[in-house]
């Protein structure tokens, strides 16, 4: 594996909240220009890992390399020009306008000596156009629907023009249509804009549908990683999620599709252990 394949390299990362170990010496390469989806049961540490990659949590030990440079050594704005974040349930004042919010994406590109420039205007307009929110620019956030609001947040991250974009459960609280709409937009960030995407998703079937690489976390360690086809097996799902299921191939997209049957351990303990290793 050459360095140029991986945009980010998580190395032996350990992290705790108080006395509770959340990530346990976890290592993970994040492939350049791909969509990597982190999935796993509640409390497995997937959001924490995502936030650590964006340096919202300080590692206890281990490090995270961005193109061979430790992210701990970046200054705040420099890192924000490399890695963008759409936080879980982000918030902003209800009376803020769409344009005011999307503008925030340009924050790391400006400084006292470098006020708002033509570049910033271009990026702002491109982000609003690209996400289809330009016609909403003067609307207040409080007047938008959930789906529109999520588009506006994605526009803000797009305006940030970071090569890496982290999204923490971006489709929570969205209905089915808006979930697809939002994730299609995320895929466009990847395909049309060439961004490296790291995504935390709860829904396994959505994860399988949009992921280039799927990572299962369980109890603070990587349970498995690979393509959706490699990971979405009945034994693996039983072992990681504790759910007996049936995995079929989605007849439309050709991706694996999990049909949950009941909670409970795997039929065959040996299979589950084999899958875990």
């Amino acid at each position: 594996m050459t360095d140029s394949e991986n945009r980010i390299e998580v190395q032996s990362l350990s992290l705790s909240y108080g006395n509770t170990a959340v990530l346990k010496s976890l290592s993970l390469p994040i492939a350049r220009g791909k969509i990597t989806v982190l999935a796993g049961p509640n409390g497995c540490g997937k959001s924490t890992l995502l936030r650590a990659i964006r340096r919202l949590h300080k590692p206890e030990s281990g490090r995270i390399l961005l193109e061979e440079l430790d992210i701990a050594k970046f200054n705040d704005r420099a890192l924000a020009r490399q890695i963008g974040l759409l936080a879980q349930s982000p918030s902003a004042p209800e009376d803020m306008t769409v344009e005011e919010l999307v503008r925030l994406g340009r924050y790391p590109h400006q400084s006292m000596l470098q006020p708002w420039s033509q570049n910033d205007s271009t990026a702002l307009e491109a982000a609003m156009e690209g996400t289809g929110v330009a016609h909403l620019r003067s609307r207040r956030l409080g007047s938008l629907s959930g789906g529109q609001l999520q588009r506006v947040w994605i526009a803000m991250v797009l305006a940030q023009e970071t090569d890496v974009v982290c999204l923490d459960e971006p489709v929570n609280h969205l209905d089915m249509a808006h979930q697809l709409d939002c994730l299609d937009l995320v895929r466009r960030l990847n395909v049309d804009y060439g961004r490296t995407i790291v995504l935390v998703l709860h829904d396994l079937n959505l994860a399988a549908r949009y992921a280039d690489r799927l990572v299962f976390l369980n109890d603070g360690v990587i349970a498995a990683s690979g393509t959706p086809e490699e990971l979405m097996t009945e034994a693996m799902i039983a072992s990681v999620f504790g759910v007996q299921s049936m995995v079929i191939t989605d007849p439309v997209h050709g991706r694996p599709l999990c049909i949950p049957l009941r909670t409970g351990p795997a039929h065959n303990k040996g299979d589950a252990d084999a899958a875990r290793s």
Binding site: A80, T97, G105, S143, L144
Partner: protein, 344 residues
Amino acid sequence: MGFALSAPALSTVRSGPLARPLPLIYAGLVVGLVIAVLASLTLGYKIYSLEQVWQALFAFDGSETAVVIANLRLPRAVIAPLVGAGLGIAGVLVQTLSRNRIASPDTLGLNAGASVAVVMASAVFGVGSLLGLSLAAAAGALATSMLVFLLAATAGGLSPIRIVLIGVTVAGLGNSIVQIILTTNEAQLQQLLFWLSGAFVDRPMALVQSGAPIILVGALIAIALARTLDALQADDSTATGLGVPLVLVRGASFLSVSLLTGAAVSMAGPVGFVGLVVPHAARWLVGLRHKLLIPAAALIGAVYATTADIAARFVIYPVEAPVGAITAVVGAMVLLILLKRRAA
């Protein structure tokens, strides 16, 4: 495009502030301020003409009229806009810092802290001079902001809700201490009560020399933070993701707020509600970007305080009302309207 505008939502929402002609708004505010200051010089127990004002300020002849204008009217026509501007900016900072639209420097306990210091200086150390009390007020506000900042920073990393909770607690504590000292200190009750309600009357120009530069420094810090404060309006995770150094920015904002409020309270005592109401008016006029918001809040605060000071001369004419009472009455009404509008 997958998203159509839904007509009912559109009809209930005012158009955004971006459509407003900004230069016109600022020009209007500046004109309003000039008119307010001139009115403050001419209107009062006696009404003077603009010529008399001009003469008293630029061709002082020692007449009684000239003395009244130069020594009594001029200081308050300077102090009121300065204090209003300072509190207006401080209000914007506190509301952004706490992500709470009904927060103000009072919420952080700064006025209560200043009051405690003044009452203590008077009761314990026998300070009677206005200058002494003013210094005590500024020191009290600064000390309180440091206390609140440290308490909020020790655990919880300066989270907005913690800042407000600690501020409100400190304010409550401070106000109780003031009450206790006042009930045991009847001799100076009259003077202290007047001070505690805030006023621009009978303030010497000397206060401006110390207060104005501090307000200027506080305002410059606020302006320098403007872009970062924009990003701080989003949640902590998002702000960090944008590259905002949260603790640094909150520390600098606290410093600015305590300078602005400390200087304001030293010049006029605790003038309530200015810092609460002015930011709302400013946001309504120019939107949420601090680069536009801070100058607008300064101008609106200046006009508001100056106008309130003029009103204070007439509401119980011929006696002066404390200006703090005027700003509180007007401010409370505005706040109720805002809350009602939000609930609707």
